[in-house]
Amino acid sequence: MSDPTEHGLTRDEVAKVAALAMLELTDDELTTFTGQLAAVLEHAKDVEALDVADVPPTNHPYPLTNVFRVDDAAAVSVEDKERMRQAVLATAPEAEDQQFMVPPALGEEL
């Protein structure tokens, strides 16, 4: 099996990743970023030397489980909700009829 880290990062891969991250890159940026990201990944190869197959991953430094919130609708008052609505709509790029306005989502009208 080929280890993905063994291969140098290609421009095509960076272009694909940029699209996935919803970023547009010029040709020059693509070249620059490819070189820079490849250098970082090259450096990160040092972890290959480590055998971690039997080591469990750490997702949280301080292990906790079952952290729950009480299901109480009264926790947020009607006034707070209305205040919140006005505040977030006031800083929205565009709003209409108490909703967030966006350009049409092409291809969505099914």
Partner: protein, 503 residues
């Protein structure tokens, strides 16, 4: 752009008559349905059920259907910068209830982020579960007896909703969309079946049974018409009898169980046609077009789905203790299958029994039976006359009394139906309502005398009726109804006419 949503929009409300239309056609046959000879369908269903909590999955905002746009919101479910999710303990409990009702193993689980850009989704990722879901390895036994495996039932959050605003007369040429985040963050349980379903009827029976279960355990209101239950179907076909799994397509945008059946039928046939033409289907998400009666490929398939799942670092594992699981198990109400069995044991007709449980009205029938009323009449009322709002609130003793009055001959079936309708509306007792209308069933001897009088008044007509002019039955029935002011039972009149004609 990659806009994949794994939840369904629900635009077309489903009426209760549509619901009754599909639940009565419960499938007992297991042959492939409606495909050319030699082919069979392989179907798995992903069902999303909104959980009946007061607040959202990770946010203290109210979980409520409808309402003014953007009123059930809070910084957390709007995904505002800096906010953090905290798990709603009640949502976990309801999810475990469903898991136990589906015979699942309930396990320590983690939340994962499913990353994709979508304007209705405030964080541009959905908190869901991936490789460690809460419930795994369950099953559902359908009324037909067939068992469908449940791979998993995992917790996640819903998206908001956007409405496209048309272009006509607006400044914006192509129109625009308005986004409402009231639904964003509503807790969902996604129940994923194994591909054990072989036809549209079986798919509908599975979805109906799952709906009955989530309602029975109080986990969800299971309303297709409000979108609190939504079904995606994974459909493929294969040569009958083989065990291969061919390329499947996931059908979304199915807004009712009737559509589910139609969509599966269409999609399976499409696959067969492709194979017969020497072609084959492509794995993709397709949307059901209700008006066109066909499925259609989603746009933009050039970019493969890559959700970049990883454990959500803002949340910690849920690890239900054996004691907690036991407590939840002990508090579970009777499940639809047991409830159906109780009515079947009392001699109920299987289809009517299934419907009564589906409507959550089976306890009415049980109370009526234990009060000495016949189960058939009780079930017929439940199936035919109680598909109405408010039926759940009907007083079981009142219902039992009504069925008893009818079976004792104190009310005709027509009168009983009318009284039942008024009982639902008013909550009053059947005896009072019947007395107010002056309803009392005519006994047969009274009708006999009345009919003799009518025959005497119309000798010619009677002779023609006896000679086989059947349409005259209506005339005689009408005369009796007129004379009794409608209190006579139509069925009894028919019997009486038949017996007099043959003597």
């Amino acid at each position: 752009m990659n806009q994949q949503n794994d939840t369904l929009e629900n635009e077309t409300p489903v009426s209760s008559t549509m619901l009754s239309a599909w639940t009565t056609e419960s499938s007992v046959e297991r042959e492939p349905q409606g495909l050319p000879d030699g082919w069979e369908m392989v179907i798995g269903l992903d069902v999303h059920a909104e959980l009946a909590t007061e607040t959202k999955m990770f946010s203290p905002a109210t979980n409520q259907f409808g309402g003014e746009p953007n009123t059930n919101i809070h910084p957390v479910c709007l995904g505002l910068p800096g906010t953090l999710p905290v798990v709603n303990g009640k949502a976990v409990e309801l999810s475990i209830r469903v898991g136990l009702a589906l015979n699942c193993t309930v396990q320590r689980c983690i939340f994962a982020r499913k990353n994709y850009f979508y304007p209705d989704m405030p964080k541009d990722y959905q908190i869901s579960q991936y490789d460690r879901p809460l419930n795994i390895n369950g099953s559902i036994q359908l009324p037909s007896g067939h068992v469908v495996g449940v791979e998993r039932a995992h917790m996640e959050e819903d998206t908001g909703k956007s409405t496209h605003v048309g272009d006509s007369g607006r400044i914006h040429d192509a129109g625009y969309s308005l986004v409402d985040y009231n639904r964003a963050g509503v807790p969902l349980l996604e129940i994923v079946s194994h591909p054990d379903i072989r036809g549209p009827e079986e798919a509908k029976a599975y979805a109906a049974e799952l709906q009955a279960i989530v309602i029975a355990v109080g986990a969800s209101d299971g309303k297709f018409e409000e979108g609190s239950m939504r079904v995606d179907a994974n459909v493929s076909v294969r040569p009958a009898g083989s065990d291969e799994l061919r390329t499947r397509c996931e059908i979304k945008n199915v807004n009712s169980l009737r559509s589910l059946g139609r969509a599966i039928q269409y999609e399976a046939q499409r696959h067969v046609d492709l194979y017969l033409a020497g072609d084959k289907p492509v794995q993709e998400t397709r949307h059901w077009d209700e008006e066109g009666g066909r499925t259609r490929a989603g746009r933009s398939k050039e970019q493969a789905e890559d959700y970049r799942y990883f454990a959500d670092p803002d949340l910690v594992p849920v690890d239900p203790s054996p004691q907690w699981i036991d407590e939840i198990r002990a508090a579970l109400p009777a499940l639809p299958r047991e409830r159906r069995q109780a009515l079947l044991d009392a001699g109920g007709d299987p289809e009517n029994v299934a419907m009564a449980v589906q409507r959550n009205l089976d306890s009415l029938a049980l109370v009526a039976v234990s009060a000495g009323a016949p189960i058939d009449k009780a079930l017929v009322h439940i199936v035919n006359n109680l598909a109405v709002d408010g039926a759940e609130e009907l007083n079981a003793e009142h219902f039992a009394a009504l069925v008893t009055m009818e079976s004792n001959g104190d009310l005709t079936s027509t009168q009983a139906k009318q009284v039942l309708g008024e009982m639902v509306e008013s909550g009053r007792a059947p005896a009072d309502l019947a007395a107010e209308h002056g309803f009392e069933a005519m006994d047969t001897s009274e009708l006999d005398v009345l009919l003799d009088g009518i025959i005497a008044d119309h000798p010619d007509e009677w002779q023609r009726f006896c000679d086989g002019e059947n349409k005259l039955q209506g005339m005689f029935t009408g005369q009796i109804m007129k004379a009794t002011q409608g209190k006579a039972d139509g069925k009894v009149i028919a019997q009486l006419l038949a017996s007099k004609k043959s003597t």
